[in-house]
């Protein structure tokens, strides 16, 4: 009572709580949060891989500050990184293993959780075979943990029906690199942003998703020409000299027509092609199907702009193309990646300063799992199908080569389909949240109900964890040791700053301890493994001599030098060093196929999904961080004023969005010119407005990546519940028929004045 009165009278202005104090390392900082120690680590959000320092006070993380000595971010961090210390004390943490008892998940001991799960796995294996256990993991774990988990699933559980959520974001890049260069592995690096004369950003909204990369562009002294290719006028487009507003999913046609023009004009790099490539003849012939006049109809981009783009790209001393989900998350994702690679090898824009086809990864350790994870290949970029690779791996780790699978198991979407068919009976989900992130949510939710057992291993109570039968309560970033590898192949250290809370343990420990429940699995696979570094050491041995060679990397070396890039600064710097059998890169004849999008009459708009800088993926980590949430507390729908007028809505109103698969209700309207008429944008982070209810079960056949970015939808406002009326459009010209169409979409061409 007295305190209440005192507080009301404003006796105490909490001066101490808001005072500043000197810190040896960072100068004046908040006295209230002054750490006892700073621990150098790496950010656990996206694939940029920023070096940071975690401030720890009384065993709690209180600060995350950009490490000024780290070459990736040179002291800066994005808003998520700056507030990352808050995730550890999130109210959304899972603090103990849980087992479902009826409708409730109740706390359990590790032994109970392990025993129940292992018994069920064994029972299912007995009755339906080992492959009836599926596993979906993530890009969030540490490399040591990926290696451990992959080895345990493939060799211990004996199931190759193992995939990661990286299939939802990077698998098209992986498969595209493989088909072009013979191996996965992004050839370029961030330094290329500093040296490029031309930077193409295709389907990459780095302003929202990888803001720290802007630092590297800002460092570029050449005043590079920036081209942003995206159907949506993103924040990133704001930094463009040329913004190319192509029609949704017409990127592959555009890329092919650039090649057409380059070849037509003789701008290709003949010497490079001769020395480094295969399949040029076929490619040249194939590309004749993409004359700019036709592609202008497909893409909505004027012929003269196409010529300008080709000239800029081919004419630059060093040109780089960076891309992310706009390219990858497409039914043509793999081939679109290869079309980008084609341009690079056509002009020799690879393996030199400022020139590369560069995929920017989404998750902090998507790269680590691509290299070591045992999902789409045997660790160290080895092929399941190659007996030599299998034998080599088996002998390196001392197991019988017969237990190494000789083919890749089901991809993410195939695992879900196998559950639907009743073929997979148990699913183990690790640090990912399909019930927000996967396409066609209603179908997925139904499928998960068919499972005999759903095990979720996570540090946060996700929508998926809520329906689990067993939960393994994991530790998270800042609580465990290991390494992350970023987009530019830089291996960074992630360090333990604080203890694992309550009854949680690191994912490494979760897996190794779990393996004890399977007869002699621990002895065979993890003999004498006590700490993550033991896994790292085996992984070093396994990767030795491979493209992703970690053998010379030690924890000490990483810490000393602010991360170490495997393969050096750039890949393929010497002639004919690609990972194909003859060292030459392949030209890929990739065909653009028109988007088929259900019944356009009923659903005449195209929904594009994506992210916002304030939120991370399905918000398991960010939903309890106030400073991020008050800027982006819920999903919104961006619609063009033309459509808003037709629907009689204004900014701040709400409307419903429907597709063939369902409806998302009461999404707040943002009327904006950043989207074209008949196209809308909604961020996918929010389970409250679960936009993946609408997205289709449509996947890239090569990579298995979902086609998230183009969904036919209808909008329903209060005043106009029937929605937007369909207008007959001349069909986008199909190449073979050479249909002529008059395009009304203006293009934006702004040439930067030389300062």
């Amino acid at each position: 009572m007295l305190d209440k009165i005192k507080s009301f009278l404003g006796v105490d202005i909490k001066a101490d709580k808001y005072a500043l104090v000197d810190d040896e390392q960072f100068g004046r900082i908040s006295a209230y949060k002054k750490p006892d120690k700073w621990v150098e680590s790496t950010c656990g959000y996206c694939g940029v891989g920023c070096g940071l320092v975690i401030g720890v006070k009384n065993g709690k993380a209180v600060y995350t500050k950009g490490n000024p000595k780290h070459p990736v971010n040179i002291g800066t961090l994005c808003p998520k990184g700056l507030s990352e210390h808050e995730i550890l004390a999130s109210s959304n943490r899972i603090l103990s293993p849980k087992i479902r008892k009826g409708k409730k998940l109740v706390d359990a001991t590790w032994d109970e959780a392990y025993l129940l799960t292992s018994n069920k796995f064994k029972e299912i294996k007995e009755r339906h075979g080992a492959k009836a256990v599926g596993v979906i993991s993530t890009g969030q774990l540490l490399t040591e943990e990926f290696y451990t988990l992959g080895k345990f699933v493939q060799l211990g559980l004996g199931s190759n029906n193992y995939d990661g959520n990286t299939t939802l974001c990077m698998s098209s890049a992986v498969m595209g690199y493989k088909q072009s260069f013979g191996s996965d592995g992004p050839p370029g690096c961030y330094e290329d942003f500093e040296y490029a004369d031309v930077i193409f950003l295709i389907g990459a909204n780095i302003a929202d998703n990888h803001p720290i990369l802007k630092l590297h562009i800002a460092k570029n002294k050449k005043n590079p020409k920036i081209v942003v290719i995206d159907p949506r006028r993103t924040k990133t487009a704001q930094m463009a000299d040329i913004y190319v507003p192509l029609k949704p999913r017409s990127d592959l046609a555009l890329l092919n027509s650039l090649a057409y023009i380059i070849l037509e004009q003789g701008w290709e790099n003949v010497d490079y092609i001769k020395a480094n490539t295969n399949g040029f003849k076929e490619y040249k012939k194939h590309i004749q199907n993409y004359p700019p006049q036709d592609v202008a109809n497909i893409t909505g981009i004027d012929v003269k702009v196409l010529y300008e783009l080709a000239r800029i790209y081919a004419g630059a001393p060093a040109a780089m193309i960076a891309w992310t989900m706009g390219v990858n998350q497409s039914a043509l994702g793999t081939d679109t990646v290869s079309a980008i690679n084609n341009l690079a090898i056509l002009t020799g824009n690879i393996g030199k300063k400022g020139a590369s086809p560069f995929s920017i990864t989404g998750q902090c350790n998507a790269m680590g799992t691509r290299e070591s994870g045992f999902t789409s290949g045997i660790p160290g970029y080895r092929n399941f199908a190659s007996e030599q690779d299998r034998d080599e791996y088996a002998s390196l780790v001392g197991v019988d080569s017969s237990i190494i699978p000789d083919e890749r198991g089901y991809k993410y979407n195939e695992i879900i389909e196998a559950i639907e068919r009743g073929e997979i009976k148990a699913l183990w989900v690790v640090a990912t949240n399909p019930l927000v992130s996967f396409v066609n949510q209603n179908r997925l939710r139904k499928a998960l109900k068919k499972l005999d057992l759903l095990v979720v291993q996570d540090a946060f109570m996700s929508e998926t964890a809520e329906v689990a039968d067993v939960i393994f309560s994991a530790a998270t970033w800042g609580e465990k040791e290991g390494s992350y590898t970023n987009s530019e192949r830089r291996v960074n250290r992630a360090k333990k700053a604080v203890d694992t809370p309550a009854d949680t343990k690191s994912d490494f420990d979760v897996i190794v301890d779990f393996s004890e429940y399977f007869s002699d699995t621990k002895e065979t696979l993890f003999n004498n493994w006590r700490k993550p570094e033991d896994a790292f050491n085996e992984w070093k041995k396994v990767s030795e001599g491979r493209l992703c060679d970690y053998s010379s990397i030690t924890y000490e070396k990483i810490e000393e030098s602010g991360g170490v890039q495997w393969g050096g600064t750039r890949l393929y710097t010497e002639d004919a060093t690609f990972k194909t059998s003859d060292g030459r890169a392949n030209f890929i004849c990739a065909d653009w196929i028109p988007l088929t999008n259900g019944s356009v009459k009923e659903f005449p708009l195209i929904l594009n999904t994506g992210r916002t800088v304030e939120q991370w993926h399905t918000r398991t980590k960010t939903k309890s961080i106030d400073i991020l949430n008050n800027v982006a507390p819920e999903a919104w729908i961006e619609i063009n004023p033309v459509d808003a007028q037709a629907l009689e809505v204004k900014s701040g109103d709400r409307l419903n969005i429907s597709s063939e698969r369902g409806m998302v209700e009461k999404v707040i309207v943002k009327v904006t010119q950043t989207v074209a008429p008949k196209t809308i944008f909604v961020p996918f982070h929010f389970s409250s407005e679960l936009i993946n209810t609408l997205t289709p079960s449509l996947f890239c056949p090569k990579s298995g990546e979902p086609n998230y970015k183009q969904t036919a939808v209808q909008l329903h406002s209060k005043k106009v519940p029937v929605g937007i009326e369909y207008e007959e459009q001349m069909s986008a010209g199909s190449i073979e028929l050479n249909e002529v169409e008059i395009s009304e979409v203006k293009t934006s061409l702004r040439v930067k004045e030389d300062v």
Partner: protein, 517 residues
């Protein structure tokens, strides 16, 4: 291969960018110079690193934002421009926060940074009204106002302010500016940002680099958010009550004077003086409830030189004290000449008090307040005090006087009626406020209208007629009713005054708006 530290030093030398570095090399200030922010809108990508870094630096909770990022859009797809404005404090040459602060809690230190002294702040929030950018923000947990101080403690130690350090685009920098050069003209070219208050209002120092050819059809991302402002209930009551007291008091003094000059008027009774004193006796202490730190209310009188708020506090404080003295004089039947000698200066101080009170709201940052008619209306509330005086006269058997007092009250009420009409006409010109009013407050306005006609005009006239008909007790009831209804009417009007103000500021964000409640 150089070490990471060497690479970092190279980076600093080569790029000259202040971002990323925790240490800063600022030029030494020459005479007539100060530090300021430079914001490069062509570099900003709207990532909000600065916002979060600021809160992390200062341990501020999420809803106390010293630095805010606003968003403006223009053009037609695909020729669209999205512009961001990241704003902390503009460290103005003529800082209105500083000028208006009654407790002198703002200090423009030698290097030009405007800092805030937390200890002396009483949480009156007048600065939050005065600043045309809404930079100062009331911190409920601390009961005081807080604001961006350009991390001056860091700058003094050659350390980089948090926002500058955090920006991955190098869009925020600290630089020095020659103040007279700036004010002589550069400010008009480089000091203004889209949809943001004019830099000349306070002679803001922030320099903007904007894209060339900004389009005209600018649209703020928070355009759809038009929220009523705080009602400030303690102030609603305080202002109306003090204004009524002054009106009653003036009427009383007029009566005294007329008596002295030989008109055949009964001398006022002490009860009448008490009746007009009561409202201010309630109203003034109420105003302390508006403060974050009511115990320090008296220090509001500190800045008499510059602050209308200090002047109001002092003048109305004196008025309340001396008008109480008059009650006592009347009680002891002190000689009327001596009474008038005290009454006249008291009346003048009171008038100055209400004038100061009105001038508090004559601020450029709040256009619907910044109209002369509001000053007139503040004085127009006097009629309620006069009516109150009439009630007292009637209750305490001065029936003859009461008739003439009612006549005076009606006269003032009619004038207030004209002010009321004038107000409606000029309020309609204040675009955003009018929109807000139309959206939320038409019912209130109707109620105000009816109560005004009833309480200020019809009921007093009826009372007057009843007195003429010798129905004194009914007349008294009707008159009390009139006071009550008229008071209600003026309180609603004052409430509308507060809630319909739409401050100038900066463009905000789609969800968070301007981050100022």
């Amino acid at each position: 291969m150089s070490t990471p530290l060497e690479q970092f030093i190279d980076y600093k030398v080569q790029t000259g960018m202040q971002c990323g570095n925790y240490d800063i090399d600022l030029p030494k200030l020459k005479d007539g110079e100060q530090y300021r922010f430079h914001f490069d809108a062509t570099k900003c990508i709207g990532c909000k690193c600065c916002e979060v870094a600021c809160n992390e630096q200062n341990n501020n909770p999420a809803d106390i934002k010293w630095r805010r990022v606003g968003e403006v859009e223009s053009g037609v797809f695909p020729e669209v421009s999205q512009l961001f404005n990241s704003m902390g404090c503009n460290h103005c040459v003529d800082a209105t926060c500083l000028q208006g602060c009654p407790t002198e809690s703002y200090i423009k230190i030698d290097n030009g940074i405007v800092i805030h002294d937390d200890e002396s702040c009483i949480g009156c929030q007048y600065c939050t009204w005065n600043c045309p950018y809404q930079v100062p923000v009331f911190h409920p947990e601390r009961h005081i106002v807080t604001k961006c101080h350009m991390c001056y403690e860091r700058i003094e130690r050659d350390q980089t302010p948090a926002c500058v350090q955090a920006c991955p685009s190098g869009a925020i920098e600290i630089e020095s500016v020659n103040i007279s050069d700036w004010l002589e003209g550069k400010i008009d070219d480089e000091g203004n940002a889209p949809l943001t208050a004019d830099a000349r209002i306070t002679n803001s120092t922030t320099r903007y680099t904007l894209p060339k050819n900004i389009e005209k059809d600018l649209k703020s991302a928070d355009e759809h958010i038009l929220k009523p402002e705080h009602a400030h209930w303690p102030l609603v009551f305080m202002t109306v009550f003090t204004q009524a007291s002054l009106g009653g008091f003036i009427a009383l003094v007029i009566g005294e004077l007329l008596g002295i000059f030989g008109f055949n008027l009964q001398s006022p009774s002490w009860e009448m003086a008490l009746a007009v004193w009561i409202p201010i006796a309630i109203g003034l202490p109420l105003s302390a409830l508006h403060l974050g730190r009511p115990l320090k209310a008296l220090s509001a009188m500190k800045n008499i030189k510059n602050s209308w708020l200090s002047r109001e506090a002092l003048a109305l404080g004196l008025f309340a004290t001396f008008s109480l003295a008059i009650v006592i004089f009347l009680f002891f039947d002190v000689n009327p000449y001596i009474r008038v000698m005290v009454e006249i200066p008291t009346m003048m101080v009171g008038t100055y008090g209400i004038y100061s009170q009105a001038m508090i709201y004559r601020i450029k940052a709040r256009p619907s307040w910044d109209r002369l008619i509001n000053v007139k209306k503040f004085f127009g509330v006097a009629y309620i005090g006069v009516l109150l005086l009439a009630v007292a006269a009637l209750k305490f058997d001065l029936v003859a006087s009461s008739s003439s007092i009612i006549t005076l009250a009606l006269l003032v009420a009619v004038i207030q009626g004209f002010f009321y009409l004038e107000d409606i006409n000029s309020f309609n010109q204040v675009e955003n406020s009018y929109k807000l009013y139309k959206k939320h407050f038409t019912i209130h306005a109707l109620f105000r209208k009816i109560t005004f006609i009833l309480g200020a005009l019809v009921a007093p006239m009826l009372a007057s007629t009843l007195i003429a008909a010798n129905e004194v007790s009914i007349a008294s009831t009707v008159l009390i009713f009139a006071v009550g209804v008229a008071l209600l009417s003026e309180l609603i009007d004052r409430y509308l005054f507060y809630v319909t103000v739409v401050p100038l500021g900066m463009p905000g964000g789609f969800f968070i708006g301007k981050a100022r409640d």
